[in-house]
């Protein structure tokens, strides 16, 4: 499943709707310190179902909603959508769609929603959709800032999960 685009709106420092059209091969993201690059990584992990706020550098899940800045008030909700090109390796319910859009929303009052192609669903549905593609939230496919050396520095027992994921 190829990613076509990433849409963020109200997620962390992305107060307004912003879109990245992902290239088939290599897409680079750049910019000064603190501008919001790693927040894009957090947005993808969150959309794919990450449940632990600590893994998104927050204390509670509400930390992912735009908290405001000196010129704007806080946001009401965070929303991230990942749109994939359907390659046919999906559960039957989604076979007829050319694209598959996975959306996650969180409101200030704590309500959270998951949607596939704008139809509300459960987190399990998203996890099943992404299963086996290695794109889950833990997999070797996302290396966070400063964590690259961890695989080498961790204990031998901890490293086995990397092989387990691939098996």
């Amino acid at each position: 499943m190829r990613i076509k685009k990433i849409e963020v709106n109200g997620f962390k420092s992305f107060a307004d709707r912003e879109v990245i059209h992902v290239d088939d091969h290599v897409t680079a993201i750049l910019g000064p310190n603190g501008c919001g690059k790693s927040n894009v990584v957090d947005a993808m992990r969150w959309c794919l179902g990450e449940q632990r706020a600590k893994h998104l550098r927050g204390q509670g899940m509400a930390d992912v909603i735009f908290a405001g800045c000196s010129t704007r008030g806080p946001g009401n909700a965070a929303e991230v959508t990942l749109t994939f090109q359907n390659n046919g390796q999906v559960p039957t319910a989604y076979l007829n769609f050319a694209e598959i859009a996975v959306t996650r929303r969180l409101f200030r009052d704590g309500t959270s929603e998951y949607l596939i192609n704008k139809v509300p669903c459960r987190l399990r549905d998203i996890q099943e959709l992404m299963a086996g593609t290695g794109a889950g939230t833990r997999g070797y496919s996302i290396i966070e800032q400063g964590q690259v050396g961890r695989i080498v520095s961790s204990k031998a027992e901890e490293r086995r999960y990397i092989i387990d994921e691939a098996a």
Partner: protein, 159 residues
């Protein structure tokens, strides 16, 4: 699942042994099981020898050598089980220019099967990208995304 683990381990180990010397321009590395009689509990050990060195203990590797060893292992796994995308957040920060060059070349090759999204401050890595996005904060505290070309990207990096 035990057979699958062992089979996957062997495949990854084989690939790791070819990827490592490519990124390090020589040297060798391999994976070892700490207890091959207990496939469900065994740990995985990494042995890495940069070219011309005798490293007995992985902790003695330098910051850049550790990062490059880790990248070699990640890429080896990707070659065995390609995942739809790979998201790397400033993994090239500890690398010197020569290693960044080899890293970039390998990414370009693997990008035939896997989409790469790479966050970087390094101009050499930017140059291998097919599409570049700059993140700006014209209003302090509010991030905006803007598609840029390589010339503009390099300007932003030295701003």
């Amino acid at each position: 699942t035990r057979e699958r683990f062992l089979e996957t381990f062997k495949e990854i180990n084989e690939r790791f042994q070819t990827v490592f010397p490519r990124l390090f321009n020589g040297g060798q590395a391999l994976l070892k099981l700490t207890d091959s009689s207990d496939l469900l509990g065994t740990g995985v050990e990494i042995q890495a020898q940069p070219p011309g060195k005798q490293v007995r203990n992985l902790e003695l590797l330098s910051g850049g050598e550790k990062a490059l060893t880790a990248v070699s292992l990640i890429f080896a796994i990707f070659l065995i089980k390609p995942s739809p995308f790979c998201l790397l957040d400033e993994v090239d920060a500890p690398l010197d220019e020569a290693n960044v060059g080899r890293f970039g070349a390998m990414v370009q090759e693997m990008a035939q099967n896997t989409q790469f999204i790479i966050i970087t401050h390094n101009k050499r890595t930017m140059e291998i990208a097919d599409r570049l996005y700059g993140v700006t904060m014209e209003t302090r505290g509010v991030s905006k995304l803007v598609s840029v070309n390589i010339k503009r990207a390099v300007e932003m990096a030295v701003a």
